[in-house]
């Protein structure tokens, strides 16, 4: 499996995806400070984004939506394009188990998105925590308990992003369409992003993860039986 994952890395140029992660991280740093400043900009003291956790929630959800779209784009390139038309002939000409090749592709993209999401959010909030220590913007400050909750939320969102992307991939694969995959990722992200509660998000994550796991099994069967 490691060999097949290395081959995915060799076949595909991942530089644009790394640049996308950098771009998302930079944008999220900007959003973090913007949303932290919002209560101070408004005359009304009961502004919506009052606490550190509020800022983390809204920024991490934005980040999750961005990574979902990035993941859908990567899945489109690594899976939908590769199992379409003449590319499928090349891939199916190798004496390698088709299910293993698909598993390598899914593992590579999922690992890239998972690690990218965690690293990106860690950079964003570590920077924010650091500047809050010296020059606080949020009123109640950054408490260690809030940091623990934020870390848990980000972990839940990482799994949620993976699951949503796999569902989007499946629909894109069925329709042999990159736009379908990307639009599905956006559509699925929209309601989840509006939950506004870590608990609801955890429930959504569990439901999406189970769906994604089932769809991976179905997808693997389809690839194995595919004709080129």
């Amino acid at each position: 499996m490691r060999k097949l994952i290395k081959l995915e890395l060799a076949k595909n140029n991942i530089r644009p995806y790394l640049l996308a992660v950098l771009g998302i991280t930079a944008a999220m740093i900007g959003f973090t400070y913007f949303f932290a400043e919002v209560p101070n900009m408004e005359a009304n003291e009961t502004a919506e984004f009052g606490s550190y956790l509020d800022v983390v929630l809204i920024v991490s959800v934005l980040s999750m939506a961005s990574f979902c779209i990035l993941s859908a784009v990567m899945f489109s390139r690594f899976v939908i394009d590769e199992y379409n038309g003449k590319r499928a002939i090349l891939l199916f000409s190798y004496p390698v188990n088709r299910r293993k090749v698909l598993a390598a592709k899914l593992t590579f993209v999922c690992a890239f998105i998972f690690i990218g999401f965690l690293v990106s959010n860690t950079v964003v909030f570590a920077l924010f925590n650091l500047t809050e220590y010296f020059a606080p913007i949020v009123k109640e400050g950054v408490l260690s308990d809030a940091i623990r909750q934020a870390a848990l939320l980000i972990l839940v969102e990482a799994f949620l992003a993976e699951s949503i992307s796999v569902i989007a991939l499946f629909l894109g694969f069925l329709r042999k369409s990159v736009p379908v995959a990307i639009v599905t990722a956006v559509v699925l992200c929209s309601p989840v992003s509006n939950f506004g509660s870590p608990m609801l998000m955890a429930i959504a994550m569990a439901a999406c993860a189970v769906t994604a796991a089932v769809l991976i099994v179905v997808l693997s069967g389809r690839v194995n039986a595919m004709e080129a």
Binding site: K3, K6, L7, A10, K11, N13, K86, R87, I89, L90, F92, S93, Y94, P95, V96, N97, E227, A228
Partner: protein, 243 residues
């Protein structure tokens, strides 16, 4: 000689359309088998059936004694192929494309990439990105990819497409050398009668998904000393079936 590819009563349907009908063929070990047919006759479909890219609706295929439907990967390990237009990883060089191919076959570092490129007339192109290759160069690179791992069987679907006359002659000589010197069995499809006549030991003529005739080229020449063209065109257009 024993058969290395044996297909019996193949049928393949797409939807309600039967594109291959009771097609049987037998390719002997070490020979060059010319698979002749008009465009749309079913040549590519049969080649895809042999290498497991398609599953037959009915019929059996054995490659080197292995059931091609049940043991797809075992069969693929014995085959080098060009099916339809070869595709590559465009942003990578010729050598990188061949390295990836070898890695998938579990032969990383065990083949001479430079030598393979030279054999197909692409010397000093190892580091050139495939995106900059012409149609003829891509076809040559496709052949290099098909032969680099020294397969027992080569399945070549219209391999001279896009090649100039000198290139066609070079490929013909390369295939002859692979067959005579290395014992590679070659099945080559084409709609160009003269090409098959020049290179093949045995010819199989397919029309409308049905094998019209399968015979040694030498026997055909003996039968028709005044030329084969008219006869082969008649068969390719679905004329009378000869046993």
């Amino acid at each position: 000689m024993t058969s290395i590819i044996q297909a019996d009563n193949l049928i393949k349907t797409f939807g309600n359309k039967e594109v291959i009908r009771n097609c049987s063929l037998s390719v002997k070990k070490g020979e060059i088998y010319g698979f002749l047919g008009a465009n749309g006759a079913g040549k590519t479909t049969v080649l895809k059936l042999i290498c497991g890219l398609l599953r037959p609706t009915a019929g059996t295929i054995e490659v080197a004694g292995i059931d091609a439907v049940q043991s797809r990967e075992a069969v693929l390990a014995k085959i080098g192929s060009i099916i339809e237009v070869p595709v590559f990883y465009e942003h990578l060089s010729a050598a990188e494309n061949l390295r990836i191919h070898l890695a998938y076959l579990g032969l990383a570092g065990k083949a001479d990439i430079e030598d393979a490129l030279e054999r197909v007339g692409l010397p000093n192109t190892e580091n050139q990105k495939v995106a900059t290759f012409s149609l003829g160069m891509r076809q040559r690179l496709g052949i290099a990819r098909a032969i680099i791992h020294r397969p027992e069987i080569l399945l070549l679907d219209e391999p001279i497409n896009g090649l100039d006359p000198a290139g066609i002659r070079e490929v013909r000589e390369l295939l002859r050398s692979l067959s005579r010197n290395d014992g590679v069995t070659i099945m080559i499809s084409s709609h160009i009668i003269s090409e098959i006549e020049h290179i093949a030991d045995t010819v199989g003529i397919i029309a409308n998904g049905t094998m019209m005739r399968e015979t040694p080229v030498s026997a055909l020449h003996a039968e028709r000393p005044n030329g084969l063209e008219d006869y082969l065109i008649e068969l390719m257009s679905g004329g009378k079936t000869y046993a």
